[in-house]
């Protein structure tokens, strides 16, 4: 079978410029017309340690960062030690001959060792230490036969017109690397027919920002926390142009409470964080549920518990999202599977938040949030539905902010609207927002008022269930095994399904859940009816989704594969568990 993809991995210490070199290569891959997917493994350190990034480019749609690399660049000895054994047969390792040594005993067959005095070559052009990466990058470009014009355009993107001399130095450095490969056997001759039609490349977090902008977000308050910080960064530099107030605040308590205030005042408002920050937001998000204030909260998960592995991925915060806040209040939890869905669901979340006047949680993770993937051109023409406003028909005279309705949704009024003044209250309240808690609680008619008001809010779940995307069955109808998955597991799971079909003839499909809550129990039960055997795959220890599925449908997954070691699923991980299940 002809090879249809390339896999490149670069490793070094934090501060060596690994991620920027990798980003440049990902851009080159996307501009060569390849479907591209990246994964960065890094640590909670600014200098030192060991970081690596893998980029996979493919002629067809790509579903994961792949497994073993064709080419490794080892910027230090540790990178050589860790990665040399992974390089595929016939692949290559590029390294600095000053200070780095491969161990031939650890290599697969026919792995080419391309030792170049990277630093020395770079120093002939510039004293900048990071320029050695550019020499290595040039070597990689040559090994994969990538058109050199993409190297030039990538450098122009980084340094622009302001520093033409740096652009020229880097182009020269890349040429030195390419020439060195030319003298040491030339390219890998993978024979990939590059279309050179550029594809859009972005992270899941960036796609969420774009979806929010398309939906008309006007407010983001956030406290820095990996892996959600890039949402703050992107919005801070782009938001003001679109009239978006972007505020870094003192803590996540303030982030959520400011978002509540902005939502109450009438703008589309959002906040973003990871698990630890979401813990601090819990009381205030319940406040939004009680006061019926629309907002969107993005939860980009990382490894817990507590500070956990801040730079590693996990799907361990689902219970947190499901149970956030005291008491019962209506929420929806959407779980995008890929950047396109990040975009669509972010846009949809703002509609749901305003239609149902309640918080919508978008749950993602580090693997999806920070990894770069090529996407089809995003359609910014998203529907915008702002929900019921009192001034749309009602009169100020009979306005009651928390009027009891069948749908649970009451007419909303914004500060500034004449005659519709009211108080939004976190204490239990009556239709006119007068408190029940203080001097009325326990009086027989107010016991009934409380019951009705609580039921009114909770009825919104019926509408949310109808308006949120239903579960989907992907793959052949008659399968020996059905995977149960949510979120970023989508890509590696699909690739595993394709692989076991191609190599072993095993038929597997997957039942996946773009909406986690309110749970679509009826459709799920229907879709599960044909399943012969089920294997739940999720990135946590206890099977948080698997247990929810059982609670909502009574279906106990036949098998469970939970991964919580910090690393994302590879297709091979999942394929192994599939084969074990059907053996």
């Amino acid at each position: 079978m002809a090879k249809n993809d390339l896999v490149f991995r670069i490793g070094g210490a934090a501060g060596d410029g690994v991620s920027s070199t990798a980003e440049s290569f990902a851009k080159m891959s996307a501009r060569s017309g390849l479907h591209t997917w990246t994964y960065s493994s890094y640590q909670s350190v600014i200098r030192g340690g060991h970081v690596w990034t893998q980029i996979r480019g493919s002629l067809g749609p790509v579903l994961s960062h792949g497994v073993d690399p064709d080419v490794v660049v080892a910027l230090n000895q540790q990178s050589m030690d860790v990665h040399q054994g992974d390089v595929v047969e016939g692949g290559a390792i590029v390294y600095d001959t000053d200070g780095t040594k491969p161990d031939p005993a650890k290599l697969r067959r026919n792995v080419r060792l391309i030792g170049i005095p990277l630093r020395k070559k770079a120093q002939t052009l510039s004293p900048n230490a990071l320029m050695r990466n550019t020499v290595a990058l040039g070597a990689v470009v040559k090994l994969f036969d990538i058109d050199f014009r993409h190297v030039e355009s990538a450098f122009k993107d980084i340094w622009g017109d302001k520093k033409p001399e740096i652009v020229q130095q880097n182009i020269a450095a890349a040429k030195l690397g390419a020439e060195a490969v030319g003298q040491m056997g030339g390219s890998l001759n993978l024979g990939l027919p590059y279309s050179n039609e550029a594809k859009y490349l972005m992270t899941g977090n960036e796609a969420i920002c774009l979806g929010a902008l398309a939906a008309g977000v006007k407010f983001l308050a956030q406290y820095p926390m990996t892996p959600a910080s890039s949402i703050l960064h992107w919005m801070a530099s782009h938001g003001p142009k679109y009239g978006v107030v972007v505020k870094q605040v003192e803590d996540e308590l303030a982030a959520m409470n400011m978002t509540v205030g902005a939502g109450f005042a009438g703008v589309r408002a959002m906040t973003a964080t990871s698990g630890g920050g979401f813990c601090l937001m819990v009381e205030a998000i319940g406040q939004a549920g009680m006061t019926e204030t629309p907002l969107v909260a993005v939860l980009v998960q990382r490894s817990g518990p507590s500070t956990g592995l801040p730079t590693k991925t996990e799907q361990g915060d689902l219970n947190l999202a499901l149970g956030a806040g005291q008491g019962d209040w209506p929420r929806a939890i959407l779980a995008p599977r890929n950047p396109e869905e990040c975009f669509r669901q972010a846009a949809q979340a703002f509609n749901l938040a305003e239609i149902y006047q309640t918080p919508i949680i978008l749950i993602s993770d580090l693997y999806l949030g920070e990894g770069y993937r090529t996407v089809e051109k995003l359609d910014f023409n998203v529907p915008i539905v702002r929900g019921m406003m009192a001034a749309d028909g009602g009169t100020a005279k009979d306005f009651m902010r928390y009027r009891i309705t069948e749908s649970g949704v009451s007419p909303r009024a914004l500060p500034g609207m004449k005659g519709f003044q009211h108080v939004a209250a976190t204490d239990e309240h009556m239709e006119n927002s007068e408190l029940i808690s203080d001097v009325l609680a326990g009086l027989p008619e107010h016991v009934e008022e409380r019951r009705k008001m609580h039921a009114k809010r909770m009825r919104k779940l019926d509408g949310l269930r109808k308006d949120t995307p239903p579960p989907e069955l992907w793959g052949p109808k008659n399968a020996d095994l059905t995977l149960l998955i949510w979120g970023s597991t989508w890509g590696p799971a699909h690739e595993a399904i394709i692989q076991v079909d191609e190599t072993e003839g095993v038929k597997v499909n997957s039942l996946e859940f773009p909406t986690i809550f309110p749970f679509h129990a009826d459709q799920t039960e229907q879709l599960l009816r044909g399943a012969k055997q089920t294997l739940a795959v999720e990135g946590n220890y206890t099977g948080q989704f698997t247990r929810l599925l059982r609670a909502e449908t009574g279906h106990k997954a036949d098998r469970f594969y939970g991964k919580s070691d910090g690393e994302p699923f590879t297709w091979r991980d999942i394929a192994d568990h599939i084969l074990e299940a059907v053996a």
């Binding site: 859009y200 774009l210 009239g243 505020k247 009438g266 703008v267 009211h422 976190t426 001097v439």
Partner: protein, 294 residues
């Protein structure tokens, strides 16, 4: 001249639930007097509060209100102000709410110098939870939560804290003098920047030490003694008089005011287009936005 809004226009149908004699009645009256004097439109006025006896205040007025969770009134108010800077935003609450659980937000709101007026009904005790020590309880005060030795911590001094944090209007009022309080609140609302009015508001049920009489015997008017409220150093000197230096004389009035500092809203780049709440939604030219991803 006939005024557009009568005093009663600002009253809601809900009667205050405070204990008879509570200092908070005076603060409500002072606030109502101030907004009446300024003839503010009730629908463009947003009063945000937290949790505690005093935080029920928004319910008793006919403006927009947000009765938030404990300690978080300020960030809710900041979010609302950023979404719609044309709203007049007033925050009310107690000492536990603002100087205890919410003290982090208190400092940050002041350093940002939002155009927000903050009225703290400071009774030096937790009232709604039935009488525990508050962050402004005096040292030695015996409460339900400090029954043996009394309070062994130093109290928070909100006036010094406000001066150090960048508030641009810092005043202290007393519920025994509604007229002066109303004047301080009115000027605070008119002030372009963050205004703190620390209102000594006796709790007649749980604080038997810091009573109306306690204050009447000790208070004096800063302005009558010739204090220069444009002088920050002088303001600090007056601020630390009570409770740190002595407890015989308690200064009331305006400690400090400056109009020379731009507000957060003045500097926020996104607001240059006008209030976000009135901006069109969506992206006009997505291709331009998408170009950086190609």
């Amino acid at each position: 001249m006939k005024l557009e809004f009568e005093m009663d226009t600002y009253k809601s149908e809900i009667k205050p639930t405070w204990c008879p004699g509570c200092g908070d009645f005076a603060v409500l009256r002072a606030l109502q007097t101030a907004i009446h004097a300024l003839q503010l439109e009730p629908w463009n006025l947003l009063i945000v509060s937290g949790i505690g006896c005093s935080s029920n205040l928004p319910h008793f007025l006919s403006t927009y209100g947000f009765h938030a969770i404990h300690g978080r009134a300020l960030p809710v108010a900041e979010g609302a102000k950023l979404a719609n800077p044309e709203l007049q935003v007033i925050v009310t609450g107690g000492d536990g709410d603002g100087y205890g659980i919410g003290v982090g937000h208190f400092i940050h709101a002041m350093r940002r110098n939002f155009d927000i007026t903050y009225l703290v009904m400071n009774n030096q005790i937790y009232g709604l939870t039935t009488g525990q020590a508050s962050p402004t309880s005096e040292k030695g005060m015996k409460t339900k939560s400090t029954p043996i030795e009394g309070v062994i911590e130093n109290p928070v001094d909100p006036i010094s804290l406000a001066l150090a944090s960048g508030a641009t209007y810092v005043a202290r009022a007393f519920s025994g003098d509604v007229k002066t309080m109303a004047e301080l609140v009115k000027n605070g609302i008119q002030h372009h920047g963050f205004a703190l009015i620390d209102c000594m508001s006796p709790c007649v049920t749980y604080n038997k030490i810091n009573t109306y009489d306690f204050f009447r015997e000790r208070v004096y008017d800063l302005q009558k003694e010739g204090h220069d409220s444009s002088d920050m150093k002088a303001a600090f000197a007056k601020a630390i008089e009570w409770p740190f230096v002595q407890r015989d004389r308690i200064p009331l009035g305006l400690f400090y005011r400056t109009e020379d500092v731009p507000t957060y809203e003045d500097l926020e780049p996104a607001l240059k287009k006008g209030p976000p709440v009135r901006q069109p939604l969506g992206v006009e030219n997505p291709d331009e936005l998408l170009r950086e991803f190609l």
